[in-house]
Amino acid sequence: MVKYALKRFALMLMTLFIITAICFVLIRLLPPVQLPLGDPHTEVVEARREALGYNRPILVQFGLYLKAIFTRGDWGISDKLYLGQDVLKLFISKLPATMLVNLYSIIFSIPIGIALGVFAALKKNTWIDHAISTLTMVVISVPSFVYAFLLQYFLSYKISLFPFLMKGGTDYFSWSMFVSMLPAVMSLSFGSIAGFTRTTRAELTEVLTSEFMLLARTKGLTKRQATVRHAFKNCMVVIVPAIFGSFVGILGGSFIIEKIFSVPGVGSLYINSINGRDYPLFMMLTVFYTTIGLASGIVVDISYGFIDPRIRMGSKK
């Protein structure tokens, strides 16, 4: 397992390097944004690009970029959207808001989603199962921003239960901050709850009809005992990696939800860096999210081995 993990890690580094190199080269090959004809700032912009080294050979630029990262931990200075500011510090300053909103959402979603899924599976083909399944499909089909506006209208506007927007400031663990996050958390949670419900129900339904469940019952276990000890544990092989995946996702943020509730997070950073052609910011985010994506793949794969001893990663036989 260790050898397998190390091998995956090495491959991950190589993939990361290739993706980084490709992105860097492509982004630097883009022509500069044209100012309107006759704009007096054209010369100034050109002078700045020259000074920043944009006119040097691409490979030289890439070498300098890597050198700055490895020798000084310098990911660059934003040259468009947040002029003059260190892109890494900027990103880190925005992570807490995104992480907390997503974390609360997952914390709410997991128990509720799994509980509903278990309940639906145990009541399979009853009106309860049909109701839960129908509701699940409806919720999955409706985009989260629809809930966001509905929540904002009813809970914030009509009954003044919550503020319209997430509170400002960095007191992330204050009660008022928590309350102000709830509309965003709820908007994000509906989809997750439905997802967990559907997955749990599907898996558990299948497991409950397995032969080993019959054996468990014939051994004398009660239905509850058989379900909890055997059926549910087997479901976890699918559910736990999904949970891991959700946790990885908390770093990504939600562009739409963050926008609607004015969450000062990272959700819109990536797309803004592309639209705004903020190259240093784009590169830093590309490397970060690529790393997260690759690492999560490894973690999820390895987690199967811990959850289900029958799965042995990397073994030849």
Binding site: P31, P32, Q34, P36, L37, D39, P40, H41, V44, A47, R48, E50, A51, L52, G53, L64, K67, A68, R72, G76, I77, L81, Y82, L83, G84, Q85, K89, L90, I92, S93, K94, L95, P96, M99, L103, F149, Q152, S156, Y157, S160, P163, F164, L165, K167, G168, G169, T170, Y172, F173, S176, V179, S180, K233, M236, V240, F244, I250, S262, P264, S303
Partner: protein, 889 residues
């Protein structure tokens, strides 16, 4: 055991996530900067945010794109420690007695408001509150009267950070300081001595003196900083003497002003001639602005579809095909504008002392310009400011890695910002919120000058009743609306769906905008034929060529009732009838508008065939214009049908008098949204009504293109790949004369590919006394482009005589006549059909009111200085509660 392991995995994951988030929470306060990092300064603005902007193309947006009214705002938030926090009350509004908080919402928050380097209007937002200009515009009233103007109908310019009006010292400086290079013949307009306000302080109480101004200008022009705003003080009207020498020291000197032949005659080789690639709207092969005229590296022009002519061009191609001695632009003025030669190098180590600003005393500076400037334009340029707080500025500078560039974090946080205006920044959270409070060290609160006489009760009141300004990001208009109705915001910009309900509200304010949106119709016949030749184009069913017929365009021009169109798609706008909008001011001294002049009115009457003699006055005749005539439209459609048949554009195989083909007009959409849909629905509905009974009944259809983005919609129109769009220009609000270039300069024209402005001759009868020549009425004939250039101040040779109708050379009536005749001539091409005068409407909170409700093109409605409150914050909270928590407007 295994169950336990699963729990552990979950627990560890949660703990890790929490730990990471805690690390990220490390910063204190609302600033995104580490408080221990360098503190920093303040600003001043280059002043350019008030300068006249270069016109830029705009596409008719779905509604006013701002979510609040002029200068203003919305909701509460940032510094929770200072402001009552609505969150704590679970959505209920609270407030403090005696506080007057202006609550603003913005779509995007400023992130970098360094007065030397900000690049966008968004980033300049804080400067409106935390800086003051050397001179200031205020309303005229009994305290500051203007002869011949009723109170609040004009404006006064008075010293603000300056102590007195500038004194012209050109003669004195010319003699004492030859290093500034004031021309020997100059007697005025080049050098000004400005006494500074000795009471001006930074927010920490540090005095602002002459050293501050001199240091700040030198810092602004510092060659290593490459400040974006440096060009505002090097180019244009307000150009500091020797600023370019200092800024560009040690770099190549790019010189233009000569034709290719002239350069060649001087012995310059073709390889040494550089083509400014902005001529083509692209960059050179190496990404820079200039390409050698001998460089044949092909560069993709994204505006031209792959496979079309000139989809790839090189600098050499542009030179040899257009700008070179054998090209059609030889001697046109464009060759001398876009061909450069490196004629040397700016002096290394140019002494900063030679930059045209120096101090005469602790509170007196002299500014030297490299070209003369006086009167309104001088004061307008000085209504901004460039000063920075030296300790912060120096501490924030740093070199960027291994590059030659420097960057600064100056004005990116509270800690790096120092105010010297009416308000100071006290809280900032990136992409979230910012808060300003009264700067008690601002002299204006105690100098007795910042007061006004209320036009209603005649009493004297201090300006700036607002005690704090909370600004936060509210991205969605629907959220803004709900917050406004709950009392959290001061304003709400009406969206398309709101007009019916709110347009007649007493709290609704209409604000005119600069742009006139016109239909542009595709006349690029060559491209149209290519499109029709495409395999997927069924010529038996569809047609495009008829669109190029002027009779057809004339028919479309009178098909739509413009006021009804605006009512249908966006009632905050009104009908547009001329190319130049109603807000353009030709005389900033008096605020006189171009559209109100007899010349402009006559031009419109001529174009719309209004017989002025049938009206009591020219004003009445002009007011009668609707641009709508269904009867004439029907006749014109029939005429267009006959012409199209004759040219073979369409057929009528069954001789039923109805076109066999449907004319499909593709609307160049940047995005396809509800506004576009609504607009096209309206256009099609009315087209069907008017074409009923004509050969085009049901045969003209407007369709939206695929979303083309920006500037894709514009590029496609110019390339003839789409057929129409509602678009216009904004900018140059105080100089309508400059707009003629947009319709006569092929680099700016939408219709450059099918309309040559040099081919249209215009004869005007002018008294040459108007340009300083002996009085004589003379008929002058030039083409449109020449008239336009002469209006911009170029000297044009015609028939052995030189003509120049630039500002300060020709009298204003002559210039107005030329402008109006160019406008009429361009309208007569029917390439542009004016439809909409842009405008917006917004609701203003019941908590406040404007001292003067009428919109002033210079001062708007007075901004934060003239905003008064009906309730303080505590009273407002009570009032909202008494209304059931939901306000009615």
């Amino acid at each position: 055991m295994r169950k336990f392991a699963s729990k552990k995995v979950l627990a560890v994951s949660l703990a890790t996530a929490m730990a990471v988030s805690m690390v990220g929470c490390g910063d204190k306060g609302n600033s995104e900067q580490d408080p221990s990092s360098t503190p920093v300064p303040t600003q001043g603005t280059s002043g350019d945010d008030k300068k006249d902007a270069t016109p830029v193309p705009t596409q008719a947006p779905s509604t006013g794109d701002e979510t609040t009214p002029t200068n203003a705002p919305d909701e509460t938030t940032p510094g929770a420690e200072v402001t009552p926090d609505p969150v704590a009350d679970l959505g209920e509004l609270t407030g403090v007695a005696g506080n007057y908080t202006w609550k603003a919402a913005v779509g995007t928050l400023a992130s970098y408001w360094n007065p030397h380097d900000y690049q966008t209007e968004t980033d300049s937002y804080p400067l409106d509150y935390i800086m003051s200009g050397l001179y200031e515009f205020i309303y005229n009233d009994a305290l500051n009267p203007v002869e011949g103007k009723d109170p609040y109908m004009g404006y006064v310019i008075r010293p603000e950070m300056a102590a007195e009006m500038p004194v012209d010292v050109t003669e004195e400086v010319k003699t004492a300081h030859p290093e500034f290079g004031i021309p020997a013949s100059a007697t005025a307009g080049y050098a000004y001595r400005i006494a500074l306000n000795p009471n001006a302080r930074w927010e920490d109480g540090t005095p602002i003196n002459a050293d501050t101004y001199v240091y700040s200008m030198r810092a602004l022009l510092d060659p290593k900083m490459k400040n974006y705003r440096a060009s505002d003080y090097m180019d244009g009207n307000f150009a500091i003497a020797n600023a370019k020498n200092y800024y560009y020291q040690g770099t190549d000197i790019y010189t233009n002003g000569k034709t290719a032949q002239e350069w060649l005659d001087e012995g310059v080789s073709q390889a040494d001639i550089l083509v400014d690639m902005s001529f083509w709207g692209i960059s050179a092969a190496d990404g820079s602005q200039y390409g050698s005229a001998a460089d044949d590296t092909m560069i993709r022009d994204p505006a031209i579809p792959e496979g079309e002519d000139e989809d790839y061009v090189s600098a050499k191609y542009i030179y040899e095909t257009y700008l070179g001695p054998n090209g059609p632009y030889a001697g046109s003025g464009y060759d001398s504008q876009y061909l450069y030669v490196i004629t040397g190098t700016w002096d290394e180590n140019y002494p900063v002392e030679n930059v045209g600003i120096f101090k005469n005393g602790d509170y007196e500076i002299t500014i030297v310009l490299n070209k003369a400037l006086a009167g309104f334009n001088l004061l307008y340029s000085l209504s901004g400011n460039w000063i920075v707080y030296e300790p912060y500025y120096e501490a924030c500078k740093s070199k960027i890695g291994d590059t030659d560039a420097w960057s600064t974090t100056y004005c990116t946080s509270v800690e790096t910002t120092m105010s010297y205006g009416p308000y100071k920044m006290v809280a900032f959270q990136s992409d979230k919120s910012m808060r300003f409070e009264r700067n008690e060290n601002w002299y204006g609160y105690s100098d007795g000058k910042h007061v006004y006489q209320d036009p209603t009760d005649g009493q004297i009141y201090p300006m700036y009743q607002t005690t704090a300004i909370d600004t936060q990001v509210v991205a969605e208009a629907s959220t803004s609306k709900l917050m406004f109705l709950k009392g959290y915001l001061m304003g709400y910009g009406l969206q398309a769906d709101d007009f019916t309900e709110y347009r007649n509200s007493e709290y609704c304010y209409a604000t005119p905008r600069a742009s006139t949106y016109f239909f542009i119709f595709n006349g690029y016949l060559e491209v149209i034929k290519n499109r029709e030749a495409a395999e997927d184009f069924d010529k038996t069913k569809y047609d495009l060529e008829t669109l190029t017929l002027q009779s057809f365009r004339k028919a479309v021009a009178v098909t739509y009732d413009k006021e009804a169109l605006c009512t249908a798609i966006n009632p905050s706008r009104s009908g547009g009838y001329g190319l130049i909008g109603t807000t353009y001011i030709y005389d900033p001294e008096t605020g006189a508008r171009y559209r109100d002049t007899p010349q402009a009115k006559r031009a419109l009457c001529d174009f719309y065939s209004v017989d002025v003699s049938k009206f009591a006055s020219l004003d009445e005749a002009a007011a009668s214009i609707t641009g709508y005539d269904a009867v004439a439209a029907k006749a014109l459609y029939t005429q267009a049908f006959n012409e199209a048949l004759e040219k073979g554009y369409i057929t009528d195989a069954d001789n039923d008098g109805i076109s066999d083909q449907t004319l499909r007009i593709t609307y160049s959409a940047s995005v396809v949204d509800s506004f576009i849909t609504k607009t096209l629905d309206y256009l099609n509905e009315k087209m069907n009504e008017v074409t009923a009974g004509t050969p085009f009944e049901g045969k003209v259809v407007f369709e939206a293109s695929a979303p083309l983005g920006d500037p894709g919609w514009s590029d496609n129109i110019k390339a003839g790949l789409t057929d129409t769009v509602l678009s216009g220009w904004n900018g140059s609000l105080l100089n309508p004369f400059s707009l003629t270039e947009l319709y006569t300069d092929p680099l700016r024209q939408y219709d450059a590919k099918w309309f040559d402005s040099t081919g249209v001759s215009l004869e005007l009868e002018l008294n040459t006394a108007s340009i300083g020549a002996p009085a004589q009425v003379e008929k002058v004939t030039m083409n449109l482009q020449q008239w336009s250039k002469a209006l911009q101040g170029d000297t044009i040779q015609v028939g052995g005589k030189a003509y120049n109708f630039g500002e300060g050379i020709a009298d204003v009536d002559t210039r107005l006549e030329i402008l109006s005749q160019i406008e009429r001539a361009v309208l007569n091409t029917y390439d542009y059909i004016p439809m909409i005068q842009d405008g917006s409407m917004a609701l203003l909170s019941q908590q406040v009111y404007y001292v003067i409700e009428e919109y002033n093109p210079i001062l708007g409605r007075g901004g934060i200085a003239y905003t008064k409150y009906n309730y303080d914050d505590a009273e407002w909270a009570d009032y909202v509660k008494s209304q059931g928590g939901e306000l009615r407007y």
